[in-house]
Symmetry: C2
Subunit: 215 residues, 2 copies
């Protein structure tokens, strides 16, 4: 009954590939182990030989997605001069989100399997963040003195949040129904990036490293 061709390489790989395909074409919530098995021409229980539960296969998909995402960012950044690094990262981020919307939603939009039970799932999320941290550390106006860890992290969170906001907003049903002109919608990402640029260009105070910032 089982389609042999699919098992040339271990069924495990095939399951992951097929699951990813389903996620990319129909979204996470449509991912079903039975559908995976059906597509591979194996029994509905075959995938359970390789994954203890749906969450486990999901965790691997998330992990792979973060890996691909981080690699994409890394590629975009590599070789640039510090001045253009952040710009390139931002563009690459939005580009990735726009090109793989469902994969992006998989990483940032859905309740993920408990990270505590799937320790490797987030490894490459950390890597992606590290890329951003490093780029910010090299960003000319950002710092002068010591590494100032907290400052960089605050800045990194701001940049990441803002970019994520744009990427996420553009996929939301909400914006689509606001009746905005397509001109505005198309210009919005670039505009937001411009705003972030000016925000970073005018770094006013280094709040976090000052013990008592205002009192």
């Amino acid at each position: 009954m089982a389609r042999r061709s699919a098992r040339t390489r271990s069924l495990r790989e095939a399951c992951l590939a097929e699951a990813l395909a389903i996620v990319e074409e129909k979204g996470v919530e449509m991912l079903s182990l039975r559908e995976v098995a059906r597509r591979l021409g194996v029994s509905h229980q075959a995938p359970y030989r390789h994954f203890p539960s749906r969450d486990h296969i999901l965790a691997e998909l998330v992990s792979a997605a973060f890996a691909a995402f981080a690699a994409h960012l890394d590629r975009a950044r590599a070789g640039r001069e510090p001045a253009q690094e952040l710009e390139a990262l931002g563009r690459a981020y939005l580009d990735y989100a726009a090109r793989h919307p469902l994969q992006y939603r998989l990483m940032f939009g859905t309740p993920l399997p408990d990270p505590a039970q799937h320790p490797d799932m987030m490894r490459n999320a950390r890597h992606a963040f590290a890329v951003l941290q490093a780029a910010l550390g090299r960003h000319p106006p950002a710092l002068g003195g010591p590494p100032g860890y907290d400052d960089i992290n605050l800045e990194a969170l701001f940049v990441w949040s803002a970019i994520h906001g744009v990427a996420s907003m553009m996929q939301t049903d909400a914006v689509a129904t606001l009746g905005l002109s397509s001109r505005v919608l198309a210009a919005s990402p670039a505009h937001s990036m411009a705003r972030m640029r000016t925000a970073l260009a005018h770094l006013p105070i280094r709040a976090a490293t000052r013990r008592r910032s205002r009192s």
Copy 2:
């Protein structure tokens, strides 16, 4: 068999209330019409008398969530002077998202029922956006000349995206696993808002209204 008390007011209302309760305590994906029925002590088909499908009840929840959200923003804004309006809006936004995370995810995080088939669902989303648009229109540095619709919309999208990014990021599993100090995490929203403030304080060019901005 049916618990009469629940039907004092029409079962319809009761279903919506119970469904909202489920969403708020377990998340959208855990919402099941059968569970609603069970909690209300009615047969599993009773809700279908009032809602043609799960999507229809979901659409009403989304609508109600947007209404509450918009009202919250409106309340926060009311009576402020233009200079503090945006600030108050931002704070209120983040406050709402932090206090009703699952409801926030309901509005912005999940694949919603097709808006085309549930026309009223997004009405209050538009209202919330309108509040922001209006506040930006009154924001001192933002404009000088004519209404400049596109400019305001671009700015509104930027502000909304950035704030949404912060709200959404703070709920993501991703940030939790970055190993950031709780000090940074706690300071992040305020920091991001500060950055947005400087971004808006230094409005450089009005890109959208210039016919050909760069070529």
